[in-house]
Amino acid sequence: MTTRGIPAFTRKVTDQAEALLKRIGGGSFHRWLRRQARRIRSMGRGAVIALPYAWLLAFFLIPFVIVLKIALAEADIAQPPYTPLWEWIEGQYLNVKINLGNFAFLIQDSLYWKAYLNSVKVALVSTLLCLLLGYPIAYGIARASPARRTILLMLVILPFWTSFLIRVYAWIGILKNNGLINNFLMWLGVIDSPIVMLQTDFAVYLGIVYSYLPFMILPLYANLEKLDETLLEAAYDLGCRPASAFLRVTLPLSVPGIIAGAMLVFIPAVGEFVIPALLGAPDTLMIGRILWDEFFGNRDWPVASAVAIALLLLLVIPIVILQHTQARNAEARS
């Protein structure tokens, strides 16, 4: 019988009970008691697992079902602004109206496709940039002395103490035509007229990379910090120069950290709304903005909901596959 996942306390109590029962002995009665002990034990396990499940049910699954319900309705000038999914006709017949037109609309209108693809592109490029920037930083922190490591980690986390929104607004002040960078360069005489940086794709990438970099660094750090340094010594000993030891030992062993960091950056970046809205051009096509516009601009809740559902499915499927393979790997390793 596996005892994994049972809180230590419950395990201890039931183990003791079992030991006691064993000492008392007795045939079928003993077996019955043991079954009861096992039931209590599995109930304890159930209770522990139930809590996160309840949380997910209340704050993820139910809202998701509500959004799905709206996505299957039609827009209506009403309060709320969509048709009900079902209604009772004369208190006798249940009339269910499912409208898949919103999803069909997403496929027909190229705007949505383009916005999706562009969002994925921006998120992919940003994730890659975060990885290229974050890996050396995480590596440096992991290799620093313990005292310095704490300070460096603190510096990575420090930006979180300020509001995300304020930090993005600060970038406007830095990037705009008469902002910090342009004024400084003009004062130096390097340029005569300001470089347009705000409201460009560059600004969007900059904003996303800046905002999500810690999410790349932290899991990578956690992974690299665990790396057994004797493995590197073994690689040197077998004739590896430091660069090739990195490529053949450190890098492959840090893949789980890379995946974790990439997920934490990629997923929120795909749906990112604030950064493209504040730093990007008005015509920057990102699905987060489309969603916002559908919802608040057009007041077309069903289409907005359909966009949200489609986005979720597009993201969830690869994640589930990835997690499945990761879990299998972890199982093989233990």
Binding site: L231, A234, L238, G239, P252, A332
Partner: protein
């Protein structure tokens, strides 16, 4: 090439014309104020199996890491095959190391781990494959070549680590506590295998160990280390039978040490009066100590005879009562309490099966030994 029959004649350190393969020249390593290795000079010869023996923290591992190139000596020189290693990084040294933790790459299969060192040498795939197969054959791991390290037992990992460190055919192999992680039975078995492999390949081994049994079994010579110093270098027999200091006598095996004063000092024998006992020790060889000096006389437990009757000799005899008997199967350990209260450890082989005459608890016995069995250690 040394093998069991010519083992006793393999003594390159006695041959003045033989050039040492590894030479440590006054090597010191400090970590801050802590001196891990203190002024160590050592010559190790081709095809030797040299054991660095000492308690944990005595500096033996640091010495090994300096040979591998992971640490730099604070002062002194390390020469391997007459080349000064000072500027040479680990990946360019003609040395391979087997790590205590084995340090197998967890993301690679057994075969990939073993092939790792060859991949650096830009050899063709066929050559690599055949050499890996050959090496796995040698350590009897062919069946497991596709497994990952986490799917192996401790003993199997040890074999893979050995194969990986031998694949580049190094002239010198460094082994850091190679058998520490194995259980007793497997360790004894592997000791002999290690010796066979070393003889087969003619590689020079330097083994670090804290296990004196292991050092005694494996080594051509042992270097005993204590607090950063090399205290004594010698063959297992020399170290055991002729320890140079109290530390060595005490560290290797068990020993009874008596404090005494030299009362008679002749070129061919000395007499030592034991301080706590009213008895004399007669030593049949000269001693390098001034007369009236305080000395330590050491007698190994197995060199002491235990009898009920009073022996004829007048010196090298003590009387006492058996306080403790431990039956170990092949031999028994007796703890005999003397008049003054101190106990002496004696071991006797159990030559007769179920011996009815066996000496047991609380018996009054005499302990006696040969004049040649005593090692006199100066202060």
């Amino acid at each position: 090439m040394p093998n069991f029959t010519s083992f006793s004649t393999f003594e390159p350190w006695k041959n003045a014309s033989e050039k040492p393969y590894v030479r440590l020249d006054r090597v010191t390593k400090k970590f801050g104020d802590f001196v891990a290795v203190n002024d160590v000079s050592l010559d190790i010869y081709r095809q030797e199996l040299f054991c660095l023996l000492g308690a944990s923290g005595c500096g033996k591992s640091t010495l090994l890491r300096m040979l591998a190139g992971f640490e730099e000596p604070t002062s002194g020189r390390i020469l391997i095959d007459d080349v000064d290693m000072a500027e040479i990084p680990p990946y360019e040294r003609p040395v391979n190391m087997m790590f205590q933790s084995y340090a197998l790459f967890p993301h690679m299969s057994v075969a990939q781990n073993v092939a790792f060192g060859l991949k650096q040498e830009k050899l063709s795939g066929d050559v690599i494959r055949s050499r890996v197969d050959e090496m796995l054959e040698l350590v009897k791991m062919t069946r497991f070549s596709k497994r990952k390290p986490h799917q192996l037992s401790g003993g199997q990992r040890q074999r893979v680590a050995l194969a990986r460190s031998l694949i580049k055919r190094p002239k010198l192999l460094l082994l850091d506590e190679p058998l520490a992680a194995l259980d007793k039975k497997l360790r004894e078995h592997t000791q002999f295998e290690l010796m066979n492999i070393q003889e087969q390949l003619g590689v020079t081994f330097i083994v670090v160990t804290h296990d004196q049994q292991e050092a005694m079994t494996l080594a051509t010579r042992i270097g005993v280390m204590d607090e950063g110093y090399i205290v004594q270098v010698g063959t297992p027999t020399e170290i055991y039978e002729f320890p140079g200091t109290r530390f060595v006598a005490d560290f290797i095996g068990s020993v009874n040490i008596f404090e005494g004063m030299i009362t008679k000092d002749e070129p061919d024998h000395v007499v030592i009066h034991m301080r706590d006992q009213d008895a004399d020790m007669y030593v049949d060889h000269g001693v390098n100590a001034p007369p009236d000096a305080r000395v330590w006389a050491a007698v190994r437990p197995e060199k002491i005879h235990i009898t009920r009757g009073k022996p004829e000799q007048s010196s090298n005899v003590l009387e006492g009562v058996v306080k403790e008997v431990a039956y170990m199967g092949d031999f028994s350990i007796y703890l005999v309490q003397l008049e003054g209260g101190r106990t002496v450890r004696v071991t006797q082989p159990n030559l007769r099966r179920g011996d009815p005459e066996r000496i047991t608890w609380d018996e009054r016995v005499f302990l006696h030994w040969l004049p040649s069995s005593i090692v006199v250690l100066p202060e």
